[in-house]
Amino acid sequence: MTIHGLLYIALLFALVLGAAFPLGRYMAAIFEGRIVWLRQVEMCFYRLAGIDAGRQMGWQSYAIALLLLSVIHFGMLYAILRLQYYLPFNPLHIAGMSPRLAFNTAASFTTNTNWQAYVPEQQISNGAQMLGLCVHMFLSAAAGIAAAAAVMRAFTGSGLKTLGNFYTDLTRITLYLLIPGALIAATLLVMAGAPQTFAQAVQLHTLQSGAQPLAIGPVAFQEAIKEFGTNGGGFFNANSAHPFENPNAWTNLLENWLLLVIGFALPIAFGHMVKDKPQGRTLMAAMAIILVLGCVGAYAAEAAGNPQQIAAGVQASGNWEGKEIRFGIPASTTFNVSATGTSTGAVDSFTDSYTPLGGAVPLFLMQLGEVTPGGVGSGFYTIIVFALLSVFVAGLMVGRTPEYLGKKVQAKEIKLAMLGVLILTFFILVGAGFSLVTPSGIASLANGGPHGLSEMLYGWTSATENNGSAFAGLSADTPLLDYGLGAAMLFGRFAFMVPVLAIAGSLAAKPKLAESAGTFPTTGTLFTFLLIGVIIILGGLQFMPADTLGPIAEHFLLYAGKSF
C-alpha cells in the first residue's frame, strides 16, 4: 500500500460524501414534489398516461403499481431481446436471444441487477441496448428510488394511510434526477473520448494487414446511467475496463463517484424528509465506514500481492493480474469494491484474478445485503430494515419496547423483515450449495477447489442481491444458471421490496411517539457502530461457513503454496 493509494480512496470519499449532502437535499425536494422546473413536461406525461397525479396510494397500491410496471417491462424487454433480429438498429444482424437467456437478461435488467450471461458485442444489437437495456437502467433505478421514497414517508407523521404516488415518484425521479445527471455525465464521458454514435463498428486494419471490427455505439449515455443508477450492465463485455466505456483515470474517478453518490445521498434525503438530519447522517456514516474498510481491505490485499508470484519473480509487488495499468491497483480495487458495495456490479478489473482476500471483500459486501450504500433505493430500504432490527435487538436494553423514529417496531415488522432476510439467505446458500453438487453447475466453473466454490457462491450472491457483477470465470449461460439466477434476481428484488413496503405501510399507520431522554438514541457514534455490528452479525454471519470453504480457505492455501 502507498500513501497515494490511500489518498485516492480519501479523495473519492471526500468527493462523494461532499456531494451527497446537497444532492440529498435536492432529492428530498423531488420526493416532496417541490422541484417543478420541468412541470410542463411532467404534466404532459401524466395526461398521456391518464394518471391522476394527486392520488395518494396506500402501501398495497404502491406495491401493486410497482410490480405491474415491472411485469410489463419484463415482458417488453423479453420481447425485444427475442425479436431483436427484426428490430431496427441491428447492422450486424445479431440473432434473437434464446428464451432462457432472454428470460435471464430480462429478469436481470428489470431488477436493476444487470447480470450479463451474454456477450454484449456478439449477442445484443445496438437497438436492443438502447431501447431495451438502457431504458431499464433508468426505470429500474427510478423504481428502486421510488420505493425508498415511499419508505421514507412512513416516518414523516402519525397515522398515515398513504405512502405517495408511485407514478409521480417514478416520473419525477427520472425527469429531475436520473436524466439530467446522466446527460451531464455522458457529456463529460464523450469529452474524455467515450463514443456516442449509431455506428456499430469501426473496421480496423491491423499491422498484420488483417481486418478487425471494433465495436462502438451509443456507449457514453448508457455508461453514465450504468453507474449513476447502480446498474452495472456494460455496453461491452469488458465493462468499465474497456477503454471506450472508461477511457482514462479521470473517467474512472468520475464513474466511481457516479455509482456511489445517489446511494449516499438517500440517507441524507431521509434526514430532510423526517426533519431530523442526524438520523440520515448516522445511516450514511454506517454505510461509509463499512465501505471504506472494504476499500482499504481490498486494496491492502491486492497491494500485498500473490506470494507465489512474488516468490517466483513474476511480479515485484502487488497483484496486477486482471487490472488495467492505466488505473493502477488502488483505483481498480476501489472501483470494484464500490460497485459491489452498491449493487452496481460494474468492474474495471477482474475480481476473479484478485487475491483470495481481495476477492472476498466484494463477495462479503454483497452478502451483507447491499447496504454500503447499496443499490439506488434498495440500499436505503435495506439499511432501514437493519436499523429496525438493530433497535429491536438492542433497543430493549434501554428499558422501552423498541421504536425507530418514534414508530414502534412490533411483531408484524419483525416478521416481514425476517422474511426478507430469509429469502436472501435462501437463494444465496441453497442456490450455490445445490449448484455445486450438480454436474451442470460444476461444469460451469472455470477453476477447481475453493476458487471454484467462490465463483459459484459469488454468482448466486450477485444475482440474489441484485448486484450483477461476476467473479468472471463462471459460464453462466446454462439452463441451471439462467433460470436459477433469473429466479434469484426476481425474488431477491421483489420478495424483499414488497415486505419492506408492507413494513412501511404498517409503520406509517402507527402514531409517531415523541422523543425523550428515555428514547433509544438512533443517532451518533454508538448507534452507528451498533448498526454496523447488526449488519455484520445478522446480515453476514450466516454466510461464514460457506465463505470459509471459499475465499478464506483459498487464502490460507495460497500462503501454504497451493493455488487454483
Binding site: 435487538v393 436494553m397 428499558g399 422501552r400 446458500l429 428515555g518
Partner: protein, 677 residues
C-alpha cells in the same frame, strides 16, 4: 404475601420440583411454542439416534453420544429455567389459594330482605347474584357492596392485617372474594363468575399457567425463529459446499454447529424472564391484569401522580406561627398548643409537634378541660380550661366570630401564607386574636431527587391536585414536577391524558374512585388501588394491593427492568455466535483444509474437543444466566444513551468475549481429563 416474603433464588423445594417438571416439559407438542428450543430438541433426538445406531453397529459412538447428551442437556436447562420461574410463581400462588377455600354463600332471593337466604356453594355463584355476608364469614366472591357498612380483613390478598372499612356507595364499595368480614354485615352484589374472580386471576397470573406471550415477546420470538431458520439453511447447505470441497460432515458435527449458532440462550430463558417480571411486580404487591401492561409500564413517558400522599404527606402540617404585633411569639405558640390539645386530626397533632420541636413547648391536657370539637357550623375547635378559652379555625370564620377588623399586620401574614400555597388558621384566646398558624403541604423528602431521576429517564411527572392554581404551582415548584393539573376533576384529568397522548406520549396514572375510571381506562398504564371501587379496578390494568400511589414509579422501573433483561440476554446470545465460529469452523474443515487450523485462534486441543467445548459452553451458559433472568438486570436511571452504552458494553461486547474465555476453559478441562484430546 407481604413484601417481606422473598423467595430465595435457590429454594431447594422449588429447584427439586423444577427438575422433575423440566423433564415433563420436553414433550415436543408443548415445546413447539418455543421454536429455538424445539429445533434443538429435534436435533438432539437426531444425534442421539445416530449415536445409538453407531453403538448397535459397533462403530465408534462416543463422540455422537457425548454431543447428544449435551444437546439434551441444553434443552433440559432451558425447560428447567422456565420451570424454576413458574415454581417461584406457584409458591406465591399457594398462599393465595389458601384464601380461596370454598365457602357456603348466603344467597339472597330478595336483596332487600336479609332474613331469607339459601346456602349456596361459592363456586355456584353467578354475576349479579346478591349475597349476605355477616361477621366471621368469608366473602364468597368479588362483588360490590349495595347495603351495609362493615370492616373487612383483606390480609389474604394484600398482606395488610389491619381491617378496612367497606360500605355501600362511594369509593369503598368493592369487596374481594376470599377476604374476611370482621364485624357487622354487608349485602353484596356479585360481580365475577366463579373462576374469574380477582383472586383466581391473580393465582393464574403468578403461576404463569394462563400466561400469554406479551406483544414484545411475540415479536422477539419471531426474530428468534427467523434466525433459527436462517442458520438451519446455512448448516444444511453446508452439506453441499462440503461435498464439493471433498468433506462429508457427520450429523453430530452439523448438529453441534447448528445448535451453537441458533440463539438458544435467549430462546431458553425468554419465558423465564417474562414470568420473573410478573413475579417481581407481585412481590411489590401489584397485580397486572396482563403482561402487556408490564411492558407498557416500561414505555411510559408521563406519570400522573396525585399530590396528596404521593408527592406530599397526606396531611398539611404546621410550618410557622405568625403573631399579631402586640403578642409575643411564645405566647402565641402556647395558645396554639392549648387550642390543639383536644384536636386529634393529623393537622392538630402536627401543631403540637411543631411547637415542641421549635419552641420546646409540651403541655398536658388539664383535668378540667372542656374540649370544643370542630363543627362544620363554626369551623373552629379548641378548649376551655381554667376560665380561659382557646380557639383556632378558618380565618374568615374566626374573624366573623370576633366581629372586629383585624390588625393590618395580621392580614398581611394571612396573604403571605396563602401566596405560599399554604393554609392559614387564626388562633384566639378569650376572644382576642393572637395570630395565625401556617399549615403547609410538606413535600416528602427525597421526592425531588426521584423526579430528577425520572426526568433523566425521559419521564415527565405531572402533579394532580384539587388545590387552586396558586397552591398547586407552589407545591409543584417545590417538588420539582414538570407540570401540574390544578383544581383537578375527572374531566380535566381525562382531557390532560388525551392531550399528552396526542403528542405521542404514553401515560401512567393511578386512581381509586369510580370517577377515576374513565381516566384509568384512557391511560396506557392505569393502576387502581385495591381500596378503590370495583369500577376503578376494572378500568385499570394493574391493581396495587397496598393502595400506595407512590408505587407508580417502581412499576415503571419494573417494566423497564423486564425489557432490559430481555434485550440484554438477546444481545448476549446473538453476540456469542462469533466465538463459536472460531471454535467450530476450523474443527470441522480441518480434514479438508488443514491450513484452516490458523483460524483456531483459541488453540483448542482437538477438533472433537473444540466442538464439544462449544456445545458445553452453549448449554451451561443457560444455567449460569438463570439467576440473572430471574432477578433481572438492574435498572439505572441514567438516561437512555448512557444506559445503552453501559449495557451494550456489558452484554454486547461481553457477549463477544465471554464465550472465547468459556470455551477455552472448558477445552482445557477436557484436556486435563483427556476427553477427546
Amino acid at each position: 404475601m407481604s413484601k417481606a416474603e422473598t423467595i430465595s433464588l435457590f429454594d431447594a423445594g422449588i429447584i427439586r420440583r423444577a427438575m422433575l417438571e423440566s423433564l415433563a416439559k420436553l414433550n415436543p407438542v408443548t415445546l413447539a411454542r418455543n421454536p429455538v428450543i424445539f429445533v434443538t430438541e429435534i436435533v438432539a433426538a437426531l444425534v442421539a439416534a445416530t449415536g445409538i445406531e453407531a453403538l448397535l453397529t459397533h462403530r465408534p459412538a462416543g463422540f455422537s453420544i457425548t454431543i447428544a447428551i449435551w444437546l439434551w442437556l441444553t434443552v433440559i436447562f432451558a425447560t428447567f429455567a422456565e420451570a424454576v420461574a413458574e415454581g417461584r410463581g406457584r409458591a406465591r400462588a399457594e398462599s393465595l389459594r389458601r384464601a380461596r377455600s370454598d365457602t357456603m354463600a348466603k344467597l339472597l332471593m330478595d336483596p332487600h330482605d336479609r332474613a331469607i337466604f339459601i346456602p349456596t356453594p361459592a363456586p355456584d355463584l353467578r354475576c349479579d347474584d346478591v349475597v349476605l355476608v355477616e361477621a366471621g364469614d368469608l366473602i364468597p366472591s368479588d362483588g360490590e357492596v349495595i347495603e351495609g357498612v362493615a370492616s373487612v380483613n383483606e390480609s389474604a390478598v394484600t398482606g395488610e392485617s389491619a381491617p378496612v372499612v367497606r360500605e355501600a356507595g362511594g369509593d369503598r364499595s368493592a369487596v374481594t372474594g376470599g377476604t374476611h368480614l370482621v364485624s357487622d354485615w354487608l349485602v353484596v352484589r356479585i360481580t365475577a363468575d366463579a373462576g374469574a374472580t380477582f383472586l383466581d386471576r391473580m393465582i393464574a397470573l403468578v403461576e404463569g399457567a394462563e400466561r400469554r406471550k406479551t406483544p414484545n415477546e411475540i415479536a422477539l420470538n419471531i426474530l428468534l425463529a427467523g434466525l433459527t431458520i436462517v442458520f438451519v439453511i446455512a448448516v444444511v447447505t453446508l452439506v453441499g459446499f462440503g461435498q464439493y470441497s471433498g468433506t462429508r460432515f457427520s450429523i453430530p458435527v452439523l448438529a453441534a454447529l447448528l445448535v451453537c449458532l441458533i440463539p438458544t440462550t435467549i430462546g431458553g430463558l425468554l419465558s423465564a424472564i417474562g414470568i420473573a417480571g410478573m413475579d417481581r411486580l407481585v412481590r411489590f404487591n401489584v397485580v397486572a391484569t396482563s403482561g402487556r401492561a408490564v411492558e407498557a409500564a416500561g414505555d411510559v413517558d408521563a406519570l400522573l401522580l396525585d399530590k396528596t400522599g404521593t408527592i406530599t404527606f397526606g396531611n398539611r402540617m404546621a410550618a410557622g406561627f405568625y403573631p399579631v404585633p402586640s403578642v409575643n411569639e411564645r405566647i402565641l405558640a402556647e395558645a396554639c398548643v392549648m387550642a390543639s390539645l383536644g384536636d386529634d386530626t393529623p393537622e392538630g397533632r402536627s401543631i403540637l409537634s411543631f411547637a415542641r420541636d421549635r419552641y420546646g413547648i409540651s403541655l398536658a391536657t388539664p383535668d378540667d378541660a372542656a374540649i370544643i370539637p370542630f363543627s362544620a357550623n363554626t369551623r373552629m375547635s379548641g378548649i376551655d380550661t381554667g376560665g380561659k378559652s382557646y380557639r383556632k379555625g378558618a380565618v374568615d370564620s374566626v374573624l366573623a366570630a370576633l366581629g372586629v377588623a383585624p390588625d393590618p399586620a395580621f392580614t398581611e401574614s394571612i396573604a403571605r401564607i396563602a401566596r405560599a400555597g399554604s393554609t392559614p388558621l387564626a388562633v384566639t384566646a378569650d376572644g382576642k386574636l393572637l395570630g395565625a398558624i401556617e399549615l403547609k403541604d410538606i413535600v416528602k423528602p427525597g421526592i425531588k431527587e426521584r423526579f430528577a431521576a425520572l426526568r433523566a429517564m425521559g419521564i415527565r411527572t405531572i402533579m394532580v391536585t384539587g388545590d387552586n392554581r396558586i397552591t398547586a404551582a407552589t407545591i409543584a415548584a417545590e417538588a420539582g414536577v414538570d407540570d401540574y393539573i390544578a383544581e383537578a376533576n375527572p374531566q380535566n384529568k381525562l382531557d390532560y391524558i388525551r392531550k399528552v397522548q396526542s403528542e405521542g406520549r404514553l401515560v401512567a396514572m393511578c386512581g381509586d374512585g369510580t370517577n377515576d375510571a374513565p381516566a384509568l381506562a384512557q391511560a396506557d398504564v392505569g393502576v387502581a388501588m385495591q381500596t378503590g371501587t370495583q369500577a376503578a379496578r376494572e378500568a385499570g390494568n394493574m391493581v396495587d394491593l397496598d393502595s400506595d400511589p407512590t408505587k407508580l414509579i417502581e412499576i415503571v422501573e419494573i417494566g423497564k427492568q423486564l425489557l432490559i433483561t430481555r434485550g440484554a440476554l438477546t444481545t448476549f446470545s446473538i453476540a456469542n455466535d462469533i466465538s463459536k465460529y472460531f471454535a467450530i469452523l476450523p474443527a470441522i474443515f480441518i480434514t479438508t483444509y488443514p491450513q484452516l487450523g490458523a483460524l483456531n485462534i483459541m488453540q483448542l486441543n482437538t477438533p472433537e474437543s473444540a466442538i464439544l467445548s462449544a456445545v458445553i459452553f452453549n448449554a451451561l451458559i443457560i444455567v449460569v444466566l438463570v439467576p440473572l433472568a430471574l432477578r433481572g438486570v438492574k435498572f439505572r436511571a441514567i438516561g437512555a444513551a448512557a444506559l445503552l452504552k453501559r449495557n451494550l458494553l456489558i452484554y454486547g461486547l461481553g457477549g463477544i468475549i465471554a464465550p472465547f474465555v468459556g470455551i477455552k476453559l472448558i477445552d482445557m478441562v477436557l484436556g486435563l481429563f483427556h476427553i477427546f484430546s
